[in-house]
Structures are given as structure tokens and as C-alpha cells.
């Protein structure tokens, strides 16, 4: 058998790999894409929210046939204690626009659709094919991959690693160290089916409008993490995740947290009468900028979760994945046009281009946040409780005068966190956010 040579090999058929493969094939490059799952999307788990902007830059008319669930018109942020939540809700009819900004999606369907576009563009996609290692020449340059199939080597000018959070290929090949438990979150999720009218009445929606809830507080039992509830057309996605090292320390189980979250008095009525049809778990890289591995080298580029491209604060990941995939693809096309090799020096263009996008700007801005949240658990336990108690004191009408109530609230914060503690937290938060 003659071994085939491609312009590029893309490892993985998730958002980043698909974006990279599509971008290159559209420009006429000969692309091989390898996916270990039975079909694209079979291994992928996400909440999931699709941010239109990142996909629009790749497939401008995606709305015509992509499997979208609901466009998000209402965003709820909940700070929860055991019996209550203090919420900030933003709902706007402006989000009922012609080209909505955010959608809920079901990844198994969405990834299949995306992969269809990728194959239409001419990419050779092989599923159930796991890349076991990178092949290098005598100078250490990556020249291809070995797969777990018989006769399974393939060669290319450049290998784009969109292999996902575990990043086993890159790890095994020594491109990056093993994941650290404190930089990765473990999230679990269930899909609860309900008739669409029920979902629409419970969340005050009509047509394809959607609402999403992001929650934090005592639901994570003192660990650094968040929960979410997303509305799909005929199902509700509910999930919760915390940093892996926190799970290890506390001994709590992810499914235990999810069960408790579902039993919360503010959540239970939303799910009442639903049928859970799917259970999934996944890792999320949340180490941010400071946990980022090397992004390129001689003959290789990293995109998506494998490169820690997740903005944990804003719950953004797939848009970063698509954007890094696209930029990587564009960089390879650009080099090809200039007839230049994919050397480390030349591929530095990838990082230069990324620096100009929101991806690097946002991750740099929040580079202190992951560590900050990891070290300051009071934001997940003490403060939600104080906030809820304060709201209750304020809203309960019980003959106590308002000045006394204000005093009581202020006192509770001082007792709960001490004055220096409060000031310190405010300063630390401001510094990390900057």
C-alpha cells in the first residue's frame, strides 16, 4: 500500500477540529481528519450553548440547516444557598433578532451537522480511528500520525491537534504535561425531557425562545464550581461541575451534587414530571491562560480544549475552540500559499493571529481568576449564604424597622467574613478581574 501524504491531518472532529478542517479544505487543501468516536459528536459533551459569532465566521449561513434548539433571550444568574436563590435576570426582546446571538444546541446532533459540512468541503474523515502517536523525522519535526488501525500511518505537512481536554496524543508525544487536577473541572449533566409547552410555560417562553440559568453557591458544597440549566426545544439540560482537586479533597461525588441540585426547592419545580433520558460527564479545562501549554511547534498546532482554550468565568469554550480551529486553519493555508514549511518559527504566526482575537485577549484578562477562585472558596459558600440572608431580612416584613434591618445585614457580613476579610476580598476580586 502506498502511504498517503496530506497537506494537513486534523486530530479530532469536535468544534476546533471541524473548524480547522473546514477552513483548510475550503481553500483546497488535502485534509485528513481522524476521530476516535463512532461518529463526530459521539464523544462530545457540552451544556450546550452555541455562540453564533464564532460559527458565522466559518459558515456564515449556518442558521439555514444547523440543528439549533432555542435562541437565548433570557440569561439568569443565580447565587444559591440551600433554600433560596438571589438572582439577576436579563431578558430582552432585542435577542429575538433575525440572526440571534446565542442558541442552545444538542451536541450529538450539532456535531453531526458540522461534520457533514466538513466532509462536503472535501475532508477525508475517518471515524473509530484513534491516533496513538505523532510521527517525527530525525530532526524531531512532526511529519504524521500513527493510528490504531492496521497499516495505520498517515503523513502530512502539519498536524493540527484538536483532540480535546484530555489531550492524550500531545501528552504521550511530550508536547505538554499531564493535566493538573486543579486546572480541570469535572462536570456532569442530564437531559430531562418535557413537552415543549411545559418548558415554555415554566420558563415564560414562546416559539423558539430559550432561557438559561447559570448558578453558583452552596450547590457546590464549598467547592469551586457552577451549575447550569438550559432549555432545549423538548428537553432541559441540567448539570453541575467542580474543580477535580476539590472533588478529590472533599470526597463528594459529582452525581451526588447533581442530585442535590435537582432537589433544590428552586430547581425541582422546573424539572417536575420530566424524564431523564441521558446522563453524561466530561472534563473542562479551566486553568485559563496560565495553564496554557505550548500551542505550536515543528509541524504541529494545538486548538480547542487541548490548548486550554476555555473562558470559565463566561462559560465560553466551543466558540474559542471554533475560533482557534479557524485561525489555525487559516495559518496553514497562508503558509501553503507562500510555499513555506510548517516550522516552529513559521507557525508562530498562529499565536500572533490569536493574540489579535478575543480568545487571547479574554484569557489574558482573566488569567488570575482560576487561581483566585480556587483559593477563595468563600465566594461559593459564605457569600451566597450572606447574600440570601440579607435578602430575606430585607424583604421579610415583620415589624422590625428598616434601620435595624440594615444594621443586622451589615453585622451579618462582618461576622461572616470580618471587615478586613470583606475589604480584602473586594480588592482581590477587583485585582483578578482587571
Amino acid at each position: 500500500m502506498i502511504e498517503e501524504k496530506f497537506d494537513a491531518i486534523v486530530v479530532g472532529a469536535g468544534p476546533s477540529g471541524n473548524a480547522a478542517a473546514y477552513t483548510m479544505a475550503k481553500e483546497g487543501l488535502k485534509v485528513l481528519q481522524l476521530e476516535r468516536g463512532e461518529y463526530p459528536g459521539s464523544k462530545n459533551v457540552q451544556g450546550a450553548i452555541l455562540y453564533a459569532d464564532a460559527l458565522e465566521k466559518i459558515i456564515p449561513d449556518f442558521r439555514e440547516d444547523a440543528p439549533l434548539e432555542r435562541h437565548v433571550i433570557e440569561q439568569r444568574l443565580w447565587t444559591m444557598d440551600d433554600t433560596s436563590y438571589v438572582g439577576m435576570h436579563y431578558r430582552s426582546d432585542d435577542f429575538n433578532e433575525e440572526r440571534p446571538n446565542r442558541y442552545t444546541i444538542i451536541r450529538a446532533q450539532f456535531d453531526k451537522w458540522f461534520s457533514g459540512k466538513v466532509r462536503e468541503a472535501g475532508v477525508v474523515l475517518l471515524c473509530e480511528t484513534t491516533v496513538t502517536e505523532l510521527l517525527r523525522d530525525t530532526q524531531g519535526r512532526v511529519i504524521g500520525v500513527r493510528t490504531d488501525r492496521e497499516g495505520g500511518t498517515a503523513f502530512a505537512d502539519v498536524v493540527i491537534l484538536g483532540e480535546g481536554v484530555n489531550g492524550l496524543v500531545g501528552q504521550r508525544s511530550g508536547l505538554r504535561p499531564e493535566l493538573k487536577p486543579e486546572t480541570v473541572a469535572l462536570a456532569v449533566k442530564e437531559m430531562h425531557f418535557l413537552p415543549r409547552e411545559v418548558i415554555e410555560s415554566r420558563f415564560n417562553l414562546k416559539g423558539n425562545e430559550g432561557a438559561v440559568i447559570e448558578a453558583m453557591g452552596t450547590i457546590t458544597d464549598g467547592m469551586t464550581g457552577t451549575g447550569f440549566i438550559y432549555t432545549n426545544q423538548e428537553s432541559i439540560s441540567i448539570g453541575i461541575g467542580c474543580i477535580v482537586s476539590d472533588f478529590a479533597e472533599s470526597g463528594r461525588t459529582p452525581y451526588g451534587l447533581l442530585e442535590a441540585f435537582k432537589r433544590h426547592p428552586s430547581v425541582r419545580p422546573l424539572l417536575e414530571g420530566s424524564e431523564c433520558k441521558e446522563y453524561a460527564a466530561h472534563l473542562i479545562p479551566e486553568g485559563g491562560y496560565n495553564a496554557m501549554p505550548e500551542l505550536f511547534g515543528d509541524g504541529w498546532i494545538v486548538v480547542g480544549d487541548a490548548g486550554q482554550f476555555v473562558n470559565a468565568v463566561h462559560r465560553e469554550g466551543s466558540n474559542l475552540a471554533m475560533t482557534t480551529g479557524r485561525v489555525a486553519g487559516e495559518t496553514v493555508v497562508w503558509l501553503k500559499r507562500r510555499r513555506e514549511v510548517a516550522s516552529k518559527a513559521n507557525l508562530a504566526e498562529y499565536q500572533r493571529r490569536l493574540e489579535a482575537t478575543f480568545v487571547m485577549k479574554d484569557l489574558k484578562k482573566y488569567r488570575r481568576i482560576p487561581d483566585f477562585l480556587h483559593r477563595n472558596k468563600q465566594f461559593f459558600g459564605v457569600y451566597p449564604k450572606l447574600l440570601s440572608a440579607a435578602a430575606q431580612t430585607w424583604f421579610r416584613v415583620d415589624g422590625v424597622d428598616k434601620r435595624a434591618k440594615e444594621k443586622q445585614i451589615f453585622q451579618s457580613f462582618r461576622e461572616g467574613r470580618t471587615l478586613p476579610g470583606l475589604i480584602g476580598d473586594a480588592l482581590k476580586l477587583a485585582r483578578s478581574w482587571r
Binding site: M1, L126, E128, R149, E150, G152, A154
Partner: protein, 284 residues
């Protein structure tokens, strides 16, 4: 030797359910797979090809999306895939299906060489009738060997084949003359994992698509719903049994507590059992 394997894309029946109110089968979101029994047929065909040379063609009738299953069969190592797809075939029962497949097999023979062996799985997991294979054999005048567990001997020169057939009460050793239609039993082999070259070929192959007209079918009254005398009078979910399933929460419970919870749940519906056990414990 040219071998044809007839296969079907089916909903993964492990995940299918009947709607409690409308009594219709809820297919939405249920993944489709190659009928598992057909994979034993495919592997047997691939083994014969590897031993004797020749080609394996996979043939299916179904909607356009059935192409996914055919492509998968190519990944396993089949050489050619033919999809028989036409709105005229919609609603086919086993009679109409065997009519269309027999016509397509005829055409396959003319286009790619007459197959001395046609394989199918013993039945499909969605219909469970086991009628289509024998129906094809009858229509094409092929000798038929059903529920085959092993191909003991194949002599292409003499045109004979000997198989072991599992039957009630024992194993039959049967010999017949080619051409033959074989329906394969489950568990007799394991589908192979194709090599990288198979995967490339599958990704790039053009699946042959035939409409009814392409397959030379003119008698449309024998196709699809029109050609299907079988009438589904009623679909219903099996009645749930009277016994109830009760779930005992396991979160934050020690083993002892869990055991106590389970026993309490049992005693709640079986008070007599609790009394018996108490009497037994008291030594009565």
C-alpha cells in the same frame, strides 16, 4: 467469487420505546445501527472472499440516510455498496421488501457478476420476522440455508456448499448446490476492524444508488405500501407488570443503612415476609 450481503439499517431497538398515549414507535433521537445479525453475515462473506478471492457487495434498501450503514460496511472491508432507495419502497412489508431486493440482486448480478452466494442475517431486530431472506431465495430460485452456524465446506469448482445449521434438538449438516442464500446465526464470528486502507476506501467510495427504475423495477404495485398485504392493526407497549420498581436513594448512605432501606422497602409491600422473618428470628 462475488458475494452479496443484504443488510438493513435499523433503529437501535435497545433504545426504542412506544409512546404511552399514541402507541406509535418513538424513533426520534434513537440511533441507527447495522442490524447486528447482518454483521455475522458480512464477516462470514469477508472471510470467504479473503480465502477464495473475489468481491463482497453490500446491498440495502432504505432511506438515503441508510448510506451511513453501507459506508460503515465498507470500513469493515466490503468492496462495494449499493443503496436501493426510492419513495416507492416506503412502507414495504417483508413481501414487498423481498420483491425489491430480489430485483436489485438481479441487477447486481448483471452489473457486477452473478453471486453464487447471497448472505443475510437470520432476521432483523426491528421486524424479527426472518422472512426476507427466504423470500429472496424463493423469488430468485436460490437454494436456501437458514440459521447457519458454520460454513463447513465450500467447493466452488463442484458448485457445492456444506453448512452446519442449528435446529431444534441439534445441529444439522446440510449440503446443497450453489447458488445459495444463507441466513447467518448470531455469535458465530466477530466482525473485523478494517485497516486504514479500508477506512480510506470507505470515506471516498461512491455508494451506488439505485431508484426503483434504476433497478429495473416496473411493477410498482408490488412495491412499498401498495405491494404490502400485511396490515399493522395495532401497536402497543407491553403492559407493565403489576409489581412496582422502587428506587432506594443511595446518596450519603452507609452500607448498613442502605441494607435497612432496602429491607424496609421490601417489607412495605410484603408485610407477611417481615412477620415470617421475625418469627424465624424469634426461633418459632
Amino acid at each position: 467469487m462475488h458475494i452479496v450481503v443484504c443488510m438493513k439499517q435499523v433503529p437501535d431497538s435497545a433504545q426504542i420505546r412506544v409512546h404511552p398515549v399514541t402507541n406509535t414507535i418513538m424513533r426520534q433521537g434513537v440511533p441507527t445501527i447495522i442490524n447486528p445479525y447482518d454483521l455475522f453475515a458480512l464477516e462470514e462473506a469477508l472471510r470467504l472472499r479473503d480465502r477464495l478471492g473475489g468481491e463482497v457487495t453490500v446491498l440495502t434498501m432504505g432511506p438515503p440516510m441508510a448510506e451511513d450503514s453501507l459506508r460503515k460496511a465498507l470500513t469493515f472491508g466490503a468492496d462495494r455498496a449499493v443503496l436501493l432507495t426510492d419513495r416507492a419502497f416506503a412502507g414495504s412489508d417483508t413481501l414487498a421488501t423481498s420483491f425489491a431486493l430480489a430485483a436489485a440482486l438481479d441487477k447486481v448480478g448483471r452489473e457486477f457478476g452473478v453471486p453464487p452466494i447471497v448472505f443475510t442475517g437470520k432476521q432483523t431486530i426491528d421486524g424479527d420476522t426472518a422472512q426476507v431472506g427466504p423470500g429472496i431465495a424463493k423469488r430468485l430460485g436460490l437454494n436456501q440455508l437458514t440459521y447457519v452456524a458454520r460454513i463447513a465446506d465450500l467447493d466452488p469448482a463442484a458448485g457445492t456448499i456444506t453448512v452446519e445449521r442449528r435446529a431444534e434438538g441439534g445441529l444439522q449438516v446440510l449440503q446443497t448446490r450453489l447458488p445459495v442464500l444463507i441466513t447467518m446465526l448470531e455469535g458465530v464470528n466477530e466482525i473485523r476492524r478494517g485497516g486504514l486502507d479500508d477506512a480510506y476506501r470507505a470515506a471516498r467510495a461512491q455508494v451506488v444508488r439505485w431508484s426503483a427504475a434504476d433497478a429495473g423495477i416496473t411493477d410498482l404495485a408490488s412495491c412499498g405500501l401498495k405491494g404490502s398485504p400485511t396490515i399493522v392493526k395495532k401497536v402497543f407497549a407491553p403492559q407493565g407488570r403489576a409489581e412496582q420498581v422502587r428506587q432506594v436513594p443511595t446518596i450519603d448512605r452507609s452500607a448498613d443503612e442502605l441494607a435497612a432501606d432496602v429491607m424496609a422497602a421490601i417489607f412495605q409491600t410484603q408485610p407477611a415476609l417481615e412477620e415470617d422473618l421475625l418469627r424465624f428470628a424469634a426461633g418459632q
